[in-house]
């Protein structure tokens, strides 16, 4: 038993570095894949130094790299947001996409885009508000002297449906302006440049650093509210902070790339199987694995039916849906 535990400890470190290596390798490979293939050597050369060939230099730096980085950042934030929500809702099924957090964010964002286009600069802020609103509603609906996993999923489905319906109604009423919004809603990383990357990076770095401060709180929440209180933890405060952090991360990704579900479900689960439930290990590893998973998925999404590109959100749902059902069967209560 002692040995088993030691292995888990080493696993966490090992996995962290393996994931880091995989992530770098995936970035280099993903940048190379596309209608024009570029060898990993050339990719590395183009990123780190300069490449004599203007064309491949341009493809690497201006077309593919921003998208690849975007995928990694969004994956990181969704993986982290999922892990945080799972701790705060004590539910392995909590994922920002499934329990309506992302649709809350997108709903408010769509309202602003369509009805108050002048304020579209502030969309990240509104998405955050929408995400927070959704968390509060799900929480209020499923709280009954405690929270049961099934009730959270049910209220999440309802919240998801309502926000989704509002978005559909709005898009029908504003069908003339909907084109751009539509692509965004399905979750797509296509045609985003360095500006998007820079803007999102600022928010995500803040969110990801804040999330590292939640690790200890998440650990105590796992012991139940009564025990956490007995240990001197202010449970309500921790809950609010962790939820806000998750809503921030989910809301930010939604505001830039739309709804991408299931990353926050699949990633923390796989990480938990490898490093265990200690959030000091779980959270950083989920962060990296999230980046890897979404990058691989996005690369597949843009290459399987090339030149037609799939929205990465749809592809993620095809992979994640069955996984969700499997989890649902496994969880009791």
């Amino acid at each position: 038993m002692r040995i088993k535990n030691k292995i888990k400890d080493q696993n966490a470190f090992l996995l962290f570095f393996i994931l880091l290596a995989v992530l770098v390798a995936a970035i280099v490979t993903a940048v190379g894949i596309g209608s024009v293939r570029i060898s990993p050597g050339t990719v590395i050369q183009s990123i780190l130094f300069r490449n004599q060939d203007e064309l491949s230099q341009n493809i690497v730096l201006n077309m593919r790299l921003p998208r690849v980085i975007l995928a990694v950042m969004v994956g990181m934030s969704l993986g982290t947001a999922g892990a945080l929500l799972q701790a705060v809702m004590k539910n392995p099924l909590a994922d920002p996409g499934i329990i309506g957090v992302s649709s809350g964010a997108s709903c408010v964002a769509v309202i602003v885009m369509l009805l108050f286009p002048a304020m579209s600069e502030y969309i990240p802020l509104f998405s955050f508000l929408g995400a927070t609103l959704a968390v509060v509603i799900v929480y209020a609906l499923s709280w009954k002297g405690g929270i049961s996993p099934v009730r959270i999923v049910l209220s999440g489905v309802a919240v998801n449906a309502v926000f989704g319906a509002i978005v559909s109604i709005l898009s029908i009423l504003n069908s003339d302006k909907i084109q751009g919004v539509l692509v965004w809603m399905n979750g797509s990383l296509a045609s985003k440049g360095w500006t998007t990357v820079q803007n999102l990076a600022v928010y995500l770095v803040i969110g990801l650093i804040l999330s590292l401060f939640c690790m200890s709180g998440c650990n105590t929440l796992q012991l139940g509210d009564a025990n956490a209180t007995s240990l001197g933890v202010n449970v309500t405060k921790v809950r609010v902070l962790v939820s806000l952090c998750a809503a921030f991360l989910a809301g930010m990704s939604v505001s830039f790339v739309g709804i991408i579900g299931f990353v926050g479900l699949v990633v923390p689960h796989i990480t938990r199987m490898i490093v265990g439930s200690d959030y000091r290990k779980l959270l950083p590893c989920s962060m990296l694995l999230g980046g890897c998973v979404l990058l691989i998925c996005d690369t597949l999404a843009r290459t399987i039916f090339s030149p037609v590109e799939l929205p990465v959100g749809s592809l993620m749902a095809i992979v994640g849906g069955p996984f969700f059902l499997y989890q649902l069967r496994k969880s009791r209560g």
Binding site: S216, G217, T220, S230, S277
Partner: protein
């Protein structure tokens, strides 16, 4: 140690305990008794601040608990809930380490003193050799001891336990009760618990509080308080009380 003065407790609209006053002295072993729904767990939860009281005053070491921070309370008082859940892969040592939480900041690693206290708590609960076992792999009695060890690592002056023996078989019940008695006798730890078994209450406690429908109907030394008449009144059950034998305690036996 702990006093409650005209305290009203309830959940939102529903008031469970209208007005209760009680006082727990330092170094005592105290049991709260009463039938299901009499409000005994509610009182326990209120006194250890897991449930906010709606009126009156509860004081811990002469300081009102409403004015104390949660962490300040946690350094003096620890609670073992009735039902405890932990992640599947939680080991005994990690669980016990949580007990050090009130004594250090969340970003600080475990200090040498923390590790010593953790070792001590594990030893006190006779869990040496079980440190790396998972909580979910332990037997009911061992699991209960592991949770008590977490409480001990808090180094509380007073320990509250909500039905610590309810889900255990008879030998594990006495194992836990003997452990509590030892903590009380050897460390002078004040212990307050909710029990169902009248005989365990008589055997182990210095003071019992008997509750019925949210009110206190008896308080004092168990042999004096737990009379045939009181038990009949509170539990609506006819009992005979057998006198002490073999240097033991009186035994409550139902007549049916």
């Amino acid at each position: 140690m702990v006093t409650a003065n005209h305290v009203r407790i309830g959940y939102e609209e529903k008031i469970i305990v209208e007005d209760i006053s009680l006082s727990i002295k330092e170094g005592e072993m105290v049991t709260i008794l009463g039938p299901n729904g009499s409000g005994k767990s509610t009182v326990l939860k209120a006194v250890c601040r897991l449930l906010k009281h709606q009126a009156g005053e509860i004081a811990l070491q002469d300081k009102p608990i409403n004015g104390m921070s949660n962490r300040e309370i946690a350094k003096v008082l620890s609670v073992l809930a009735q039902v405890n859940t932990s992640p599947e892969d939680m080991t005994v040592r990690r669980l016990v380490e949580f007990g050090r939480l009130p004594h250090r900041s969340w970003y600080e690693p475990l200090s040498e003193k923390d590790s010593e206290v953790v070792e001590w708590a594990i030893k006190e609960t006779r869990l040496n050799g079980y440190e790396e076992r998972r909580i979910t792999d332990l037997s009911g009695g061992e699991r209960q001891r592991a949770w008590i060890a977490m409480c001990l690592a808090q180094q509380p002056k007073i320990l509250f336990l909500d039905e610590p023996t309810t889900y255990l078989d008879i030998s594990h019940q006495y194992e836990v009760m003997n452990l509590l008695e030892r903590l009380n006798k050897e460390l002078g730890m004040t212990i307050v618990m909710v029990l169902h078994d009248l005989n365990q209450a008589i055997r182990y406690s210095d003071t019992v509080f008997v509750m019925k429908k949210g009110g206190l109907v008896g308080a004092g030394a168990p042999k004096e308080v737990l009379t045939k008449e009181l038990i009949k009144e509170v539990y609506t059950l006819d009992v005979s009380i057998l006198p002490e034998m073999n240097g033991g305690c009186p035994l409550v036996v139902p007549c049916c």
